[in-house]
Amino acid sequence: MKYELVIGLETHVELSTDSKLFCSCGGHAAANEPNDCVCPACSGMPGMLPVTNKHAIELAVKAGLMLNCKINQYTTFDKKSYYYPDLPAAYQITQWFNPVCVEGTVEVGERKIGIKQIHIEEDAGKLVHDDATNTSLVDYNRTSVPLIEIVSKPDFRSSDEVITYLKKLKSALQFAGISECEEGAMRCDVNISVRPEGTDKLGVRSEIKNMSSFAEIKDAIEFEKVRHVDAIERRTEMLVQETRRWDEVKRRTFPMRNKETAADYRYFPDPNLMPIIIDDEWLAEIKASMPATAEEKGQKYVAMGIASKEAAVLASDAKLCGMFDEVVAMGREPRSVASWILTECMSRMRYLGIETLNIAPQKLSRIIELVDAGEITRAAGKKVLAAVFENDVDVDKYCDEQGFNAKVDEGAVLAAVKAAIAANPAAVADYKGGKEKALGAIFGACMRELKGNGDPAVVRELLTKELNK
């Protein structure tokens, strides 16, 4: 018999706000040491009252608009109670009764995936176990950091669809400035069951908790599919509805302790937070602030003279197009910027094995400016870029230190040409004997002599002139 996968996703992402959800502490990003970003409110001290961060509501609404959701213009916060040391007040403020967004859709390939709801909630802290002293320490930097949970309907039929959806979601959230979606910061709970193809009844469901790597999510789904099908066909085990975790080392899922999952959260409306009314005017403001989509960005780039294929690559990645927009805004020529990002930066990233472009736009802009003005050669520019990637050097200072200067006078070039000819008699003989190719070796020696400076065209011209004397 053929089986079909039925998967639903609950995806948590952190909102890009300057402060936490209910207090003025900076987000975890502002923290250096454990418990750096903590106040009486987010550490659960008595006497503090929550005050809602309006920006978090706006970002959640933006996410809803992007996923074609209906926006609940009357939305409320509720309390979810459970005891754990990473939750200082022993309750989490979330949205249980009236989530901010409901009933959306996302296109994944040919199919439409339904979005059940998007709700806002606060994150919990972090426990650090110190084996040396056999104690547990708590870090509240993350407590009350705003998250949204995007709950899909059980509409996925393959692990590929899940990954396509997650990639699409990530790029859309980054694009709209809703979430940075940093490495590992997108956390998923995967609800999965199987059923014979062509049937409607849902099978026994297992939930794999707290996954963040896309590759691991794919493997976990494939593992679960085999486990479920084996259980049904070969009766290897009795399937029960349960929560499981993926073990990245053993490459399989394990059931989580029942205790962690059988809690009664005793939800009720938070009496300290008035219902939030998103009136038509506010909603219109949020709609108006939605950024251009990737398609719209791509079209804009083409109009700026960028080839359509390059424009599409730039527009598909929030970091790349962010860099492009900033550097162009600094006055650099768009085609030149596109070429530096797509060729030089990306090859550097591949070389260093990093996934996100995170150098300072000012530095890239300065390099392009120097090269385009003929102050340094492109070859020298590439070297500066490499140093910026690796050591975040100051562009002008580095050029000075390295002696990069494309404007070398003719006398110096001539001296280098003569030195290169003197040092490579064999190549010179070959060239004079008619082997045109030998010129490359002498030219290379010449450029080395000049430490990469000098206009290559001038160098070549002087070199051939000297050889043909």
């Binding site: 009486p40 550490s43 659960g44 001290m45 008595p46 006497g47 503090m48 009252l49 929550p50 005050v51 809602t52 309390k79 109670s81 005891y83 040391p85 200082p88 007040a89 022993a90 309750y91 547990s136 708590v138 009664d264 005793r266 939800y267 009720f268 409306p269 009496p271 300290n272 937070l273 008035m274």
Partner: protein, 389 residues
């Protein structure tokens, strides 16, 4: 029993109950759970009295988390603030009215307590139990003095999400004459009180009549429902708010634990008193799966009905006249009965607690009025006090 849990300044003129935070001064909320807790900031109401030039005398004893009526912590504790005011050692006291305790204390001690309209005095800095109903009020020897201090602490505060912008527009020093006012005497609550309390209500009614007000007996039929609903809401919220006291971060921690569950259970079992535990158990139950709709959610619906019913009454009447407590003297009850005794007695205080409407206790009687009519109630209390003097 000592009236102060922590004394601040012998010459201070404002006492603050121990569920209200004062920076750097221990705050126990009357519980062993918080016996070593020192807050990092002061309540907004405290900041405001200090800014107005008052000085703090100390932190007065309260029943545990303001829940207790009597029994567990004893009469001296419950009436600590009211008796300090009565003996004249302070001008006024700030008290949290969670479930009517300062109203009852004022009735018993013969002083005045004003519970203002919910949302008009910031709750920032209260060791919270029942957020949807609790409110800081003022105990003083008379209504005029209470009004003076209330005017200082009231007003919008952005740190409290339920604080009302309209809070700035109340005239607490109203001298509205009782003449021409219509006052409704709540029949069921009058009937539930003992003879000495009835006599005080009769005297108040006679004073108002003499001043030219109209007194009309009315029936509030859903009082029992209102009281149960309030008890459900109060217990549930208290359960939730007290769950932060787990022995992990501050406060009491048991010495006997080997893992986190034992730390929680041991600390809470050893530190909470009987009534608090009973409230927590009751509050957990009404929020639990399968019970929520019939208990908590129903209580929310009854609250809305109560607001409608009382609002309708206040279209006709200026105030409701009723007892604050069934007895004129404290009676001692064994602790095991505390939860049901509190429930029985809160029938007098629940209408103002569940709706958030203002209430004033003066001359041993309670007046309840419409939202933002605090000034009118204060004026009515002044009329009673003039008669007494």
């Amino acid at each position: 029993m000592a009236k102060y849990i922590t004394e601040i300044n012998k010459n201070g003129n404002i006492a603050v109950d121990d569920t209200i935070l004062v920076k750097d001064i221990p705050a126990t909320a009357g519980s062993k759970m918080l016996e070593n807790f020192v807050p990092l900031f002061s309540a907004e109401a405290v900041e405001r009295v200090l800014a107005a030039g008052y000085t703090l005398s100390g932190k007065t004893a309260v029943g545990e988390f303001g829940l207790d009526l009597y029994g567990e912590t004893g009469i001296n504790d419950i009436c600590a603030a009211a008796s300090l005011v009565k003996e004249g050692s302070v001008k006024a006291a700030l008290n949290v009215d969670l479930n009517g305790a300062p109203r009852r204390a004022a009735a018993l001690e013969g002083v005045t307590f004003v519970k203002p309209t919910y949302g008009t005095v910031s709750r920032y800095g209260i060791i919270a139990a029942a957020c949807s109903g609790e409110q800081i009020g003022v105990t003083a020897k008379n209504a005029a003095t209470a009004a003076e201090v209330l005017a200082v602490i009231a007003g919008y505060d952005e740190k409290d999400g339920t604080s009302l912008k309209d809070a700035n527009n109340i005239d607490y020093n109203s001298e509205a004459p009782a003449k021409g006012m219509k006052i409704a005497l709540v029949r069921e609550l009058y009937a539930a009180a003992d003879a000495a309390v009835k006599a005080k209500i009769d005297a108040a009614a006679a004073t108002y009549k003499a001043a030219g007000a109209e007194i009309e007996e009315i029936s509030l039929q859903n009082l029992a429902e209102i009281n149960t609903a309030w008890t459900i809401l109060m217990s549930a919220e208290t359960t939730n708010n007290l769950s932060r006291f787990d022995g992990v971060k501050y406060g009491y921690r048991t010495e006997k634990y080997k893992n986190i569950d034992e730390l929680y259970v041991g600390s809470r079992t050893e530190a909470f008193g009987f009534l608090t535990k009973a409230t927590i158990i009751y509050g957990s139950d009404v929020l639990s799966k399968g019970r929520y709709e019939d208990c908590y959610d129903k209580a929310l619906r009854i609250r809305r009905k109560a607001v409608e019913a009382l609002t309708e009454l206040f279209a006709k009447y200026d105030a409701l006249l009723m007892p604050a407590f069934s007895k004129a003297e404290y009676e001692f009850y064994p602790v095991e009965n505390a939860f049901s005794k509190v429930y029985e007695e809160s029938i007098f205080t629940a209408p103002a607690s569940i709706t958030g409407m203002p209430a004033v206790v003066s001359s041993g009687v309670q007046l309840v009025g419409d939202y933002f009519c605090d000034g009118k109630l204060i004026a009515l209390a002044k009329a009673l006090e003039k008669e007494e003097a």
